[in-house]
């Protein structure tokens, strides 16, 4: 038994430093790529900047600013569809970033398809915090408020002072709202998939075949809801009365 434990200890003492070393090396490479991408961007080599930034994102880095930079590089590289896609992804991470908002609005002015006006929808008015706070902020606010509620309850149980009970009741409502919002965000990201049209123009057809009837056309940057996926095709809904099929490669899931 002792020899087994000793073997484990020796193995771990060798593997853990190796993992740490690999991770550190990868981090260094990501940093170098990022710096190179910024230099390429400044030099006008937007395609190279796109390649480098997308390689960073492909390595699992999820960062709103990285996505913002990707949107910028795509837009400069005359790739409106991808630009809007990455801006949309960035908005989920840093929705309040003014630079992002500005560039996103500018990109939208370049799109051709009229979007449904959702600025004054009842959902946006009654659940305004959902659209102004990042998902991360909502999650941690929910956890914090939940903890505060329970702490108030515990203290009240210990001291039997009514003030703590009232404080717990007051904190309970916002905690509940943020917990519900966080759960909805999880549901939304898992089941309510949105996508951006990537090519300059595509035909939305009645079926999966190329010779299916063309129902309508969409252009780069158009935002659609993915209804379902079938054999490398997406059934998308653009508006209440416009639904059809496109090849999956023509849309980027946000």
């Amino acid at each position: 038994m002792k020899s087994f434990l000793a073997l484990c200890f020796v193995s771990l003492s060798m593997v853990i430093p190796a993992i740490i070393t690999v991770c550190a090396a990868d981090t260094d490479m990501i940093t170098r790529d990022f710096i190179s991408s910024m230099e390429s961007y400044k030099n006008g080599d937007y395609q190279k900047a796109v390649d480098l930034l997308e390689s960073i994102a492909a390595r699992g880095v999820q960062n709103g600013k990285l996505y913002y930079n990707l949107g910028n590089a795509h837009l400069k590289n005359d790739n409106l569809g991808n630009a809007v896609l990455w801006y949309e992804r960035a908005l989920q991470k840093i929705p309040g970033d003014p630079d992002l908002r500005f560039n996103y609005e500018y990109a939208l002015t370049l799109t051709k398809d009229a979007r449904e006006n959702t600025s004054f929808s009842p959902t946006r008015i009654f659940f305004f915090w959902k659209y102004h706070l990042s998902r991360k902020t909502v999650v941690w606010t929910a956890i914090s408020l939940n903890l505060i509620v329970w702490l108030f309850i515990i203290v009240w149980r210990m001291t039997r002072r009514k003030g703590f009970w009232y404080a717990a009741c007051i904190t309970f409502l916002p905690a509940l709202i943020f917990i519900a919002t966080a759960f909805f965000n999880y549901y939304e990201s898992t089941y309510l998939r949105l996508a951006i049209i990537l090519p300059k123009q595509i035909s939305v057809r009645s079926g999966l075949l190329d010779n299916s009837t063309e129902l309508f056309k969409l252009h780069a940057g158009a935002k659609v809801r993915v209804v379902r996926t079938l054999r490398d095709h997406l059934q998308i809904r653009y508006s209440k009365d416009k639904i059809g099929w496109i090849a999956a490669k023509n849309a980027g899931i946000i």
């Binding site: 990501i30 940093t31 990022f34 910024m38 961007y41 960073i56 699992g60 880095v61 999820q62 960062n63 709103g64 600013k65 990285l66 913002y68 930079n69 910028n72 590089a73 837009l75 400069k76 991470k93 630079d99 500005f102 560039n103 500018y106 990109a107 002015t109 998902r135 991360k136 999650v139 941690w140 929910a142 956890i143 939940n146 903890l147 329970w150 702490l151 309850i153 515990i154 149980r157 210990m158 917990i179 966080a182 999880y186």
Partner: protein, 588 residues
């Protein structure tokens, strides 16, 4: 002839039916008559169908050679020598559909009480109107029609004038214009009326005008206009012997006058519409035909970046200006351009359409420099010169100085009156903001997984559960041993706190020692003797020396409590210390 109100006709028919049913008069006859049997093409005649003693309807669907222009009816009931008769008279105005020859009014059928009655057929001779026939100025009423130009170009506006001359009073006049096939026709609403002496007689001359724009080329015919009117017959103001009648007999009340209806027509007008010559010039042809002028103007030619000025292009003239579109502007890229609604004033008079259109654009320079607004050109077909003519405006030079504020002002359109001095700030250029270069951008912001989120939400629950368990355990323990143990400790604590007050201290110590012994015995109680204490402890398995020590201590406390001797501080502390030591032995 005026149409009778329906209810009178219906009432007559009802009476007639009643009378017919009563057998007062039973013979039913149908008779058709015309006011004349010779007419000229274009004239009309009156057909009267009289039905006696029946309320049947006349079937006029068999009339093929005539067009029924109008229809009236009236009825009469006569009582003559005790005999009653009733008549319904239908009057039709007919126009022949043939130019010349015989036209037939066939037998007209009337159905009554299941039987069919017929009138006799009538032959009408229609004479062709001679093209050379001209309205005679010897007549009391005549009409003419003419066009201002019988060989216009397509798109050229011409005037069709219908003129009525009458030297007698006419009634119930009705003018029926032609359809103007091949033309776009607009009536000039204002009629022109004046008096004119023709062959020594005063005539009233009334002119109606239409503006016609030919839409087809080649030979076009404007069909005759027709004019219906009535003239009251001249009254005979002399009797058979030639004597003049008294004036009061000339009053219409005593001498009702009959009105004779007439229909006259103008001649058809033959026009030859010429196509526009082939356009071979540069630039597009605007489609305008007439006579036009073009002028460009700018509000101010010295500007600063962000200022606004208005460029106006005025198209003015006579012709189909109503069809004029915006000329092609070629403006420098250094200007932002804002459209303004065109202003137009087009009037229609006896010479046709004329007026102007002003096209405006607000220009906002975004760069300094000197810029030329190229001449605006427009090609139209000049009807006086019978050739295409290109209008070209003068070039305009705009001097743009740098802005002091470097802010572009919004357009200020000349047709708008600005109520406020505040101006909307517009973009003068568009670009995206730069990338975020901080290395923070590569730090992953992975979202908390749903599982971890739920775990963190639930984390306070074990803490609360532990507390509840602890409270439950401590609050509900009612065993005598625990209760007495707590009581003993509380009493000892109180004794230590009241060490300066001997009686209270001794009372607490006495209570503490008793409670400690009862706790060991798992019993409740208040007081013990030292013997009871020793026996109790011994029975509970305590070592004899502990039992003896406890009984001795109880005895000492009891003696001190109930004796009047004052204990010194040292003695009090020693006694308290002994009790504490006993507690350590008994209540670890």
């Amino acid at each position: 002839m005026q149409r009778l109100p329906n209810y009178i006709l219906k009432l007559s028919i009802i009476i007639a039916v009643i009378l017919t049913a009563s057998g007062v008069s039973a013979k039913i006859t149908v008779d058709a008559q015309v006011d004349r049997t010779r007419i000229q093409s274009g004239e009309s005649l009156e057909l009267s169908v009289t039905i006696e003693n029946s309320n049947g309807q006349v079937d006029i669907s068999s009339i093929k050679d005539f067009k029924v222009v109008s229809q009236t009816s009236h009825s009469t009931i006569n009582f003559i020598n005790g005999q009653t008769s009733q008549k319904i008279i239908y009057v039709y105005t007919l126009e022949p559909l043939i130019k010349s020859g015989k036209a037939i009014i066939p037998r007209l059928r009337v159905k009554s009480n299941g039987k069919t009655y017929q009138s006799e057929p009538i032959e009408i001779l229609v004479n062709k109107v001679s093209a050379k026939t001209k309205p005679s100025k010897d007549l009391d009423v005549w009409i003419t029609a003419k066009v201002s130009n019988s060989t216009p170009f397509t798109g050229q506006q011409i005037i069709y004038t219908f003129t009525l001359y009458n030297s007698v009073q006419i009634h119930e006049a009705k003018f029926s214009p032609p359809e103007f096939l091949g033309f776009e026709a607009t009536e000039f609403k204002k009629t022109n009326a004046y008096k004119k002496i023709i062959k020594g007689r005063e005539h009233i001359v009334t002119e109606l005008n239409y503006v016609l724009i030919p839409k087809k080329t080649g030979a076009l015919v404007i069909e005759p206009s027709s004019f219906n009117f009535g003239i009251l017959d001249l009254m005979k103001n002399r009797d058979r012997s030639g004597r003049s009648l008294p004036d009061f007999l000339m009053d219409p009340f005593f001498n009702p006058r009959k009105m004779t209806k007439h229909t006259i027509r103008t001649l058809a007008l033959n026009l030859t519409v010429k196509p526009l010559p082939e356009y071979t010039g540069h630039g597009g042809f605007s489609g305008l035909v007439g006579k036009f002028e073009l002028k460009t103007d700018v509000e101010t030619s010295n500007l600063k970046v962000g200022d606004s000025t208005t460029l106006s292009v005025t198209l003015k003239g006579q012709g189909n200006i109503i069809d004029a579109g915006e000329p092609d502007f070629k403006l420098p890229d250094a200007f932002k351009i804002y459209e303004d609604n065109p202003e137009e004033k087009i009037s229609l008079d006896r010479t046709g359409y004329s007026g102007y259109k002003i096209f405006r654009k607000a220009l906002v320079p975004v760069k300094q420099g000197s810029y030329e607004i190229r001449p605006v050109s427009l090609t139209y077909f000049d009807i006086t010169e019978k050739a295409y003519k290109k209008l070209t405006s003068q070039p305009i030079i705009l001097q743009v100085a740098p802005s002091q504020t470097a802010q572009a002002a919004p357009p200020r359109l000349s047709s708008q009156v600005s109520a406020s001095r505040k101006q909307k700030v517009d973009f003068t250029g568009r670009d995206i903001l730069p990338p975020k270069e901080e290395l923070e951008a590569v730090q992953s912001q992975n979202r908390l997984s749903l599982f971890l989120f739920i775990l963190l939400l639930a984390s306070p629950l074990p803490l609360l559960a532990g507390l509840l368990i602890f409270q439950r355990l401590t609050r509900n323990d009612t065993r005598p041993a625990i209760l007495m143990k707590n009581k003993a400790r509380k009493a000892l604590k109180a004794a230590i706190n009241t060490i300066d007050q001997q009686n209270e201290m001794l009372a607490h110590l006495y209570q503490a020692v008793n409670a400690a012994i009862f706790s060991i015995a798992n019993r409740s109680g208040e007081a013990l003797t030292w013997k009871e204490a020793r026996e109790l402890l011994t029975q509970c398995g305590q070592p004899p020396q502990i039992a003896q020590q406890a009984s001795d201590l109880l005895s000492r406390v009891e003696s001190a409590k109930f004796s009047a001797a004052e204990l010194s501080d040292h003695e009090r502390k020693a006694l308290t210390e002994d009790v504490r030591r006993l507690f350590k032995e008994l209540l670890p």
